[in-house]
Subunit: 365 residues, 4 copies
């Protein structure tokens, strides 16, 4: 029997609605929530709509090519799956299902340090999933070094060091619902770091070293055989420091609006960063990408690729690996359409002349 | 018995409401819908309201003259009926009824390539309707050349080449409702292009050549005995290319918000284009014109004329030819009033000093 | 028995609500309505809220002086009652009641050409009401000349020539409700101009000469023993023409949003006009004044005085002359408070340093 | 039994809701209301959200230090409790309870002239509460001089002269509800100034001298053994005058939106003032602080400290001294989190590079 999804799942917003119906309230509040007033959470999505496209006509768009070069490697398209913790809360197959979707869609998956699947188990279960490893640097550096070694050994192609969680954000949905806890034994790396028993996400976060500094990053980059990206950068000043400290890429991100509220969205922080360092390292962006046109705008503003977060979890919640895959493919279909209609059949040819500040007001729903 | 319309049909918005009550859901979703999130669809209307008028007083407005010169011909007013496919879905008389409204109001009608009436049948049924022909260039160029020949032969005075549909927009209302299909045999030109059976609008769109280029347009313009206009232009860069490639006019348009979402409205794209090329060819605009004041603003910003789309279909749906005619006449009455109160009794004397960015916020309903 | 008003009538907005309960629907739609989409109607009120006050402290505000100099005469405060037609529709005593409120509050009342009371009757009934006469110039100039003579004879101190009604605005509330008509015999001047029977406001408007020009105004000003003000000016260009053609003052006005929709509010049009001609003639403004702080803002932007329109009718509807008087006194109380708290105890000392564009978004209700 | 608060009281907004349920309508309208249309009242909160944070990463934030130097004294954190009248209306323990919360959280409390507790009684009941005294200067200067002497004697460390109440604001909630009165005998200082019987807040306000001038302030500052701060300043011009007249600090404030409506919020008025005089005296700000991120923004814009008003009363209403304390501690927890995530572990190191105008629209709730 072919796998049939309800026909109403046309857009990513449809998946969001469907996921909110199937997820248990605790997992939903963990996934959906943001910090304090959720200003940034909402703005991550809204910010892309504050950009208008400037399409060109009559350029010949019969064949479109969404491929991009990322860390020196040509990739079939500019989408990655963002690192997200505890995917076992969303679907029984957890990160394995996500990896299957990644493999099927040739999408790089970033495995979270706080995954409910170990890096080895994932690599073994879905060896053909393109994969990067996301690193939280723990106060116990030995744990982190060990993690990196395991990632190198099991085919992870890059390290994404998340730097915007020195302390845990004030996520009031979690505080109110009292949920969002997971068992440390389900989070292999956390267990390795000495955690045990049921812990909230905030509890896991306490393992992270709040005193991490640029010098640590430089050392990581120097020691690592893998390219190192810093995730969680929002200013050009810090992007220039990233260049100075030898990283291969930066991911413009506010952690999905989950850490410090009222910071800029990726869409708004990106241009200054891409202008400052885009010719010296790879700039990626995440946060609020919901449409193929959002991807076009991100590339036009100087990103080499974009990370997709919650939408993949929505697909996962709705239908496991096929759901996550279909979310990504929906975005890729939209991207293909947008490249054609924007008159830039090569994704890698997009530039700032394709976007302009939108004259319309914010159109959040 | 005189034809009595309910007195509440005072404004075009009234016709919109009335049409939504009489149209079947499939036709309604086809007509009313736009691409993906419909940001541009909504903004087409809203953008005109973001412009304020700067009226002059005491200039003597006892006689108003709405006439404009268009492609070198003096026309009694600046309204045209935009090309719109499948008008047979809206009213049994389809394009014939629209043509009758056009003839009665001295309005140029643009017949769509995807009309449910052939160019010959229309010309024969309503020979006194001023008419232009809208051309989708099919991959099979012979079909297009044949179409042009038939248009020339049957009194169409200009060719409007639509260039913003190399691929079909992602119109989710249609995807969700599953409607919007028509039988190829009801679309004479599509049938001539080899289509058959029931097809969605997207299906018809696949006949269009996605690889059309400026050089093709130049060739069309050179070969054609009729003036050629390019419809679907949104940037000054492309407007300059239009000049370079020998066309007689450009229509600033985003295809009624149905192709690429989050592009600029006609109102917002017009000024830069009119500034760039308004003295070299005729600039027209469509999208969201709902009031006589909108027409005044378009002319003040440099358009020679404006195309009216959905409102004509609303009139058609409500009452066939008389309904469509009354929609146009409502706009003309409003235009006359606006010319008097703006203190520019000659429509052709409007200039940029009559408009200014509105200080009020967006006022969409 | 003392005249007791319900205690809830604290602000002008309270009077608006109360009036909407007591007025018949026809009169209400006539008073409350504006042109077409009522964008300008709403913005007249909202625009004052888009200005922020910059108060000063510790200047000594124990005694406040709201007086202003207007047409060379010191007036006790900067409020006037705007000319408004057909006040007999609002209250049985019509303009006479309004004049009583004017007399009691030392407010100049502008009697409308289309009043339901003749200039003589008003002057005789309330001889101590300070009064100006508003003139519509009819196609039959003899009628207008006669009117001016009668105004001069009966103590009207200035002529306000309304110039923004060469044709009647498209007031859709009236078109929809089918009301707003009055009997010509109740409008003495209209009857004098040859009107008879029941007429809509639009019908009366047809008596007005649409071909009035600056040269006519100049002639009026030259011939008149009274100062002439032009009402309905919205641009600095026209304000400069007013200076050149010898008028004594201009009233920045969009006719209460009833004529051409989407023109600027008085608040937004005022600064450029005051900057251009404020040192050469008196600039007044009307439209949307609802608070003492609005009056302060108008004066700070260069107006010498402000005209109050609909709020006076609300007071009239609620309670006749005492109601209208209380509306004016409410505004005067608020003005006094605002002068104290803004730190400008002399109304005539306000200047542009007391206002700044508001950082907040539009706050319409 | 330990004192258990409902777990839903996570944020200050939760306390606001809870307080609105327990307060009687009269007290609630007195506390919650603002002047006339409450534009400024609402904007006080909204304005902080119109600022975005620009966080830095990898600076080492394991230890945070919220301390600031204020009037030359190092204080453990930058929060103060704003002066607020009649706290006995909110809770039986009134200002005594507030002082207990202040003492427990090392927060400076500003005792209002119109307190329901005398300065002596407060100092005796909670001697370890850090305290400043807020002064309304009465027409009878002897009363004020006596007050200052009593404040000096009882350990108040600074004088806050409120200057934005020369007359009482038009607080329509109070006018409508008819409440907000208190008995003069419950307001010791008012009784000392000659008031007696039940009085509205407006009645008490009439004791204040509306003719206070900068020269009076200068004299106060010269005579006083305590540092003098001027509270209620909104422009750089006046801030420069404050420097010239010898005060030690200014508090940028609009009196909680209760005096003149449509003036700027503290957030919007602060930058120009801090730029003008921040290096010459201490600049504080109040109004609408509801989040730790708001405190960070205030410090980044140049404030040395912030005053918290209504939220303390909400805590007081909900749970007396422990409620007020928990409100302050909630803010301090949020501040600590924000310092870590903004990458400025020292509160006193924040500067203007940490904030930028928000690209999002106003997000009021």
């Amino acid at each position: 029997m072919p796998h049939a999804l309800p026909p109403r799942l046309v857009s990513l917003a449809d998946y969001e609605r469907a996921a909110s119906e199937v997820l248990d309230p605790g997992a939903l509040s963990y996934i959906a929530g943001g910090a304090t007033d959720e200003v940034t959470l909402q703005d991550n999505v809204a910010a892309w709509r504050r950009l208008a496209l400037r399409p060109r006509i009559l350029v010949g768009v019969g064949r479109r090519d969404p491929s991009v070069e990322l860390l020196g490697v040509r990739r079939p398209h500019p989408l990655l799956i963002a690192p997200m913790a505890f995917q076992g809360l969303v679907h029984g197959d957890g990160e394995i299902a996500t990896a299957r979707a990644a493999a099927a869609s040739s999408t790089i998956m970033c495995l979270s340090t706080l995954a409910t699947t170990s890096p080895e188990a994932l690599a073994e279960a879905v060896p053909d999933a393109p994969r990067w490893f996301q690193l939280y640097v723990f106060a116990d550096r030995g744990v982190s070094r060990d993690l990196v070694a395991r990632a190198v050994e099991h085919g992870y192609e890059a390290l994404v060091v998340t730097v915007d969680l020195p302390v845990f954000g004030l996520r009031e949905r979690e505080l109110r619902s009292g949920v969002g806890s997971a068992h440390a034994e389900r989070v292999p790396i956390a267990a390795a770091a000495g955690a045990s028993g049921a812990m909230t996400a905030a509890g896991f976060a306490e393992l992270v070293d709040p005193d991490l500094r640029w010098s640590d990053i430089e050392q990581f980059a120097a020691e690592s055989s893998l390219p190192v990206l810093v995730k969680g950068i929002l200013t050009a000043e810090d992007a220039r420091r990233a260049v100075a400290h030898g990283v291969s890429g930066v991911i413009v991100s506010n952690h999905g609006g989950r850490q410090l509220d009222t910071v800029l969205s990726g869409a708004d922080a990106l241009p200054a960063i891409a202008d400052a360092v885009g010719d010296q390292l790879d700039v990626l962006v995440d946060g609020g990408i919901r449409r193929g046109t959002d991807v076009v705008k991100a590339l036009a503003l100087g990103a080499r690729a974009v990370l997709i977060g919650r939408p993949v979890l929505w697909g996962l919640a709705v239908d496991g690996a096929p759901g996550a895959q279909r979310v990504i493919e929906t975005l890729l279909t939209e991207l293909d359409n947008a490249l054609a209609l924007a008159g830039s059949p090569q994704a890698s040819s997009l530039d700032a002349t394709f976007v302009t500040p939108a004259p319309w007001p914010d159109q959040r729903r």
